[in-house]
């Protein structure tokens, strides 16, 4: 029994890394550095400078934190958003469907590497913030911060997976991804308080990932502990779970219709 569990875990990790390699290792090192390192840094610098100018405060920590978290949308969101359509184009989606594997674990595994990848980009943003804008982690509950980061990446990736499920039947996933990524930039509170938004948009902001994580991260930076942010982190986690389940459900429904009606060409 135990060996079964170990085997399953091993399979999960192998599949995650393998599928990541299979679908995303198209970037040569130069391009990788530019897209995954330089561009996020520039984005952080731009929005941080803007915040400093507009809010006329010396301490722009909240905005640096917020924008660092938002940086993850490049990998944890865009990358994943195309993953299922890519599999279909490769012709490997049908093999996954026809195999006896645990579909949910395979689905989850697709997001796994992106959570890590997204986390790395955020860390790059934080380092830039520390180097250029005086961001300091002294007196901050680091493990709690890391937990917040991981949960945030999970939630964003989960949304990405949901979109990728729909990407199987949509023509222009790219447009949806771009719009949602911008909405994350605008509505997550990264650049201005969520409370400033019109009522409806506030509601939307709390339906999206990142909003609660950014709030939590800011509180942690101000010395807050689990008692203060525990609720937020947990809610963010639930948000991620809901998106993940919705994405998985969507995939199974599409698979069913594809098999039954052949009206969808996902296989």
């Amino acid at each position: 029994m135990l060996s079964e569990v170990i085997e399953t875990i091993g399979r999960f990790f192998r599949q995650s890394t393998m599928s990541f390699k299979a679908l995303f290792s198209w970037l040569n090192p130069k391009a990788y550095i530019l897209i995954k390192v330089v561009n996020p840094m520039l984005q952080l610098i731009f929005f941080s400078l803007l915040a400093r100018y507009v809010y006329r405060v010396a301490d722009i920590m909240p905005w640096v934190i917020g924008n660092a978290f938002v940086l993850c949308t490049y990998n944890a969101f865009f990358g994943i958003g195309m993953v299922l359509a890519e599999e279909r184009n490769f012709g490997t989606l049908m093999i996954v469907i026809a195999s006896p594997s645990n579909k949910f674990l395979v689905f989850l595994g697709r997001a796994f590497m992106h959570i890590i990848d997204g986390g790395i980009t955020v860390v790059i943003g934080l380092l830039t913030g520390a180097a250029l804008f005086g961001l300091s982690f002294i007196g901050v509950d680091l493990p709690l911060f890391v937990l917040t980061l991981v949960v945030a990446m999970f939630a964003v990736s989960a949304l990405g997976l949901l979109i990728s499920s729909f990407g199987l039947v949509m023509r222009d996933t790219n447009l949806v991804l771009n719009v949602l990524a911008m909405m994350l930039l605008a509505l997550s509170g990264a650049n201005f308080p969520v409370a400033e938004l019109p009522f409806i948009l506030q509601k939307v902001a709390y339906l999206m990932p990142l909003t609660r994580s950014i709030e939590a991260a800011r509180l942690i930076m101000n010395g807050g502990g689990m008692n203060i942010v525990g609720n937020l982190i947990f809610s963010e986690f639930i948000v991620g779970v809901i998106y993940m389940l919705a994405g998985y459900l969507a995939l199974r429904v599409m698979e069913y219709y594809s098999i039954k009606n052949a009206s969808l060409d996902i296989i």
């Binding site: 012709g91 093999i95 026809a98 195999s99």
Partner: protein, 325 residues
């Protein structure tokens, strides 16, 4: 003994809708009331034109498509409804270059698929190296698939299709796009797998391939099963029949009709070979017909005349009729 593959009254419809506001529904019967049984260790062929319904049947049997009506069972399990129990024991190989991850190496691809079939560590290791040896890719195993030739990709496909040591293997046009040597090697492999006790169902539109490999052939035309027998028996449908082959450069339809209406002529089919049309006139005694045929084709440019024995292809054409490209 229960058949390995059991298809009864299988039907698959596609609904195509025309128009936006007033939707006109048209039902296309891709597979229409097809029934056959395949026994253990057989190599069973589905022969037919492109679009005849062969791929649809295979998709149903590999659990990728549901039947509209009728029954499809493999190893006693219903392909739609009992897929979970069936999937570990079957596998499929579709021709072409898809179904592989191009950015991974051959070995990594097999490793990945082995995981999809939940193989444990020892089995995985052993089988992957065996398979790589068998398809002659052991020395290129760690190179990325995108650098492989078409033939190599196809060989890797075969390894992938055997990763779970399936009891039943489905092959859809496996030799398509392969050069003659590659195709021959693949056919040798298929025979070997059959002798190991695996049941194989393959589709093809190459007559000689079906003739050479299959124990029995089902001929599918426009979704219907028009014949099911061994290659020998099918050929006998045209026995006593020979073929008068006339190569022409363009011929009118009324001339074809005139040929068809000749009493001694059993069937006329046309094969297009680039610019030339080859008229295959099936009859009992070609030599006595030649004069009359030439007369009918008076104003047409005749590039060659040949008399030969009937083959499986002719039986097929007789059953199916029409033009072959």
């Amino acid at each position: 003994m229960e058949s390995i593959i059991s298809v009864k009254g299988l039907q698959r419809d596609y609904i195509s809708t025309k128009g936006i506001i007033k939707k006109e529904k048209k039902i296309i019967k891709a597979v229409n009331n097809v029934s056959f049984e395949v026994q253990k260790g057989e190599i069973f062929g589905l022969l037919g034109q492109n679009g005849a319904g062969k791929t649809t049947i295979i998709k149903i049997l590999t659990t990728l498509l549901a039947p509209t009506a009728g029954e499809a069972k493999v190893l006693g399990f219903r392909t739609f409804g009992e897929e979970k129990k069936l999937r570990p024991h079957i596998n499929f190989i579709f021709g072409g270059e898809r179904n592989l991850y191009w950015r991974l190496s051959a070995r990594d691809n097999l490793l990945y698929f082995a995981d999809l079939y939940k193989l444990n560590k020892e089995t995985r290791k052993k089988r992957i190296s065996e398979l790589l040896e068998m398809v002659d890719l052991a020395d290129r195993a760690d190179e990325k698939v995108e650098s492989f030739s078409k033939g190599m990709k196809q060989r890797l496909q075969i390894a992938r299709g055997l990763i779970n040591d399936p009891q039943v293997l489905f092959l859809d046009e496996p030799t398509i796009g392969l050069d003659p040597v590659g195709a021959r090697d693949l056919r040798k492999l298929i025979s070997m797998l059959s002798s190991q006790g695996k049941t194989i169902l393959l589709t093809t539109h190459y007559m000689y391939e079906a003739d050479e490999l299959c124990n029995r052939i089902a001929i599918i035309n426009k979704g219907n099963l028009v014949a099911l027998d061994t290659p020998e028996n099918l050929k006998r449908l045209s026995s006593g029949t020979a073929v008068l082959e006339v190569k022409v450069l363009g011929v009118d339809n009324d001339k074809i009709e005139a040929l068809r209406s000749m009493e001694a002529v059993k069937a006329v089919s046309i094969k297009q070979q680039e610019q030339i049309q080859v008229l295959e006139i099936q009859c009992n005694d070609p030599s006595s017909l030649t004069q009359d045929v030439v007369n009918i084709l008076r104003d047409t440019k005749v590039a060659g005349i040949n008399i030969r024995e009937a083959t499986l292809e002719d039986a097929y054409l007789k059953l199916v009729g029409g033009t072959v490209c």
